[in-house]
Symmetry: C2
Subunit: 411 residues, 2 copies
Amino acid sequence: MRAALVVTGTEVLEGRVKDENGAMVAASLASAGVAVDRITVVGDGLDEIRSAVAEALGRGVDLVVTTGGLGPTHDDRTMEAVAAAAGVPLRLDEEALVMVRAAIATVPARASEDVREFGARKQATLPVGAVALPPPGTAPGAVLDAGQAVIVVLPGPPWECAASWRSASAVPQVAAVLGADGAAAPLELRLANVVESEFMEALMRRGSADDGLVVGVCARPGELEVTVRPPGGAADDFVSFLEREFPGAIFSRDGSTVEEVIGSALTARGEMLGTAESCTGGLIGARLTSMPGSSGWYAGGVVSYANEVKERALGVPADVLERHGAVSREVAEAMARGAQAHVGCDWAIAVTGVAGPGGGTAEKPVGLVYLAIAGPPGVEVRELRLHGDRERIRMRAATIALHLLRAALDA
Amino acid sequence: MRAALVVTGTEVLEGRVKDENGAMVAASLASAGVAVDRITVVGDGLDEIRSAVAEALGRGVDLVVTTGGLGPTHDDRTMEAVAAAAGVPLRLDEEALVMVRAAIATVPARASEDVREFGARKQATLPVGAVALPPPGTAPGAVLDAGQAVIVVLPGPPWECAASWRSASAVPQVAAVLGADGAAAPLELRLANVVESEFMEALMRRGSADDGLVVGVCARPGELEVTVRPPGGAADDFVSFLEREFPGAIFSRDGSTVEEVIGSALTARGEMLGTAESCTGGLIGARLTSMPGSSGWYAGGVVSYANEVKERALGVPADVLERHGAVSREVAEAMARGAQAHVGCDWAIAVTGVAGPGGGTAEKPVGLVYLAIAGPPGVEVRELRLHGDRERIRMRAATIALHLLRAALDA
């Protein structure tokens, strides 16, 4: 089964918004073993959307998913475009109208009754033959069986899009596509501390195995993501090969993230984690607390951006700061121990570094970062010298710190 | 001038990575007044990339920008695909080879000499006639003048892509496209606390003005982004109209973010900010510290996820926690005052709430959030009842808190 995604929104074409919906639907399709042949991002214009949907139908895909352009305003024209591409007219769907009116009634009435009713009728106007999806916001999505392909029309705001996609997945025509080859989902591995060139060299050493495996590699800051398809015996042999080549590097075999692995390990141990962040400024805390249930294993932390906060909230001695500087092995260790004591936790991650673009010196250049992990076995400190811009240095420091903790929990 | 973007990468089609490069290049083109007609995301296959580039050329655009697929491995085929689409052969570029070898020499040698040289030659093989760009990592991008259009080929890792795009922008053929209609960049407004339906009603009240303006609206959590083009007299009249309709709502007229506006206001006042975050877990600190130079106005904060941390690190009295619960007006206020005292700052933002999916009760449902802003004039507390999933509630609480502070700094 093959699918195509059409993401609409001039704000995406102008780079003001990063598309999240395409990635969300694509990941869901991939996990069901449905291949996405193309994601097309177009503007809000009727003809742009219509031609992108028509091209996807022309490529013979089984499923077309559109996102965005379902709002109450004049520039929301996706339903019209989908109807045109599928060659059916539009009509006011009375059932959809009831759902939209009910949804609008729960929103504080800041627009007049007339405007609200106008918007309701606009949002309930669907291609003939389409099934309306319950609106998570005020715009209903729709599923249209267009003969050779099924077209799913989803709203643009990411949480509405995700909720509508869940509803759409239960509609029989969509479920049929998703269920058709569920066994084809790839094996998804994550490796820590392996760079792409090493991985490539390992592949070359292995030689061509004639095992029919397709191996995909994607480098992320501090991690390597490897997909192997089809799953099964040959893929398992390949995993064993990687285990020998890169001992301890594979930390996930089911797509679970480092945050999830850490959460499970801490839960199993009945221990709590805290953070002391300087240059990452809260990124690690934000990543950990994005996990539902993280309050069971994450106590909290201190963002000690200023030196006074390192002293006051973490108890880093003033003379250690003075003697070694805020970006030092000694301060990283004192921050981690301070988090254990002041936050009150079994394990602590501390990060201090120069994220740039300013603040670097010859001795302590931009990219110099010290990480410390404190736990029941003691404290471990690591020096990093990272490249790239401010965001890359921060993201990478956060990822490497999480992996250092993961390895310590695993030990 | 019109451009098309072709993003390559099976990992994007499978939803394992959200594309950042398309958005980065699109934003840069938009600010230069170059319209992007389409962003096409395709997999790593030679023919997929070739046909997407060929289709873009066929649409008659002036510029095609590709990202990704320049690595040393067998599945990196973008140069080959671009050459095929442009109808030119490939050749080993000796100048590029020198640059790639030099770049590889700075990377720790974990692969063998043979593998490294193989990869260097692969990465230095470019379409005939292409100008190699200096490699920020090890892969050089390229600029190819294909007659009617210029093709820019950029590497995939986001920081390499951004650096190569800056290099490419200085190449005369690309600079000519970017400089052709620089005056056409739209006016970009940001409004706080206005929802799309209110905005639409205001537009209807205004009626059709025959002023030739094209107004685009994009709703983001807690903000509305409005673009008006072309800029100039009519656009300025439109801004005056919005100021009368939504007094105080426009907080940015040059695309600057709420974080930037806060940083400027604090710098002008010579005052410092701190944070006390519970359900947002560090998101606000991470957003503030993503700004270069934020150490000049952000002292740090406490992520007080557990109640013990609220008591211990922020001095929230145990009896206040017991009497009112962690998610309460009183605890939000005590957290903000505690941040002022314990972090040591003039202003403090505090957030406590139920982000879900668990932890909600009839009295305190998922989405109930209390914000407090403490500053020299006193403390202000706000109750929010937010909808959506965990990430949406967290993001939205963070954005609304930042706007509450911005308004307080503005008062």
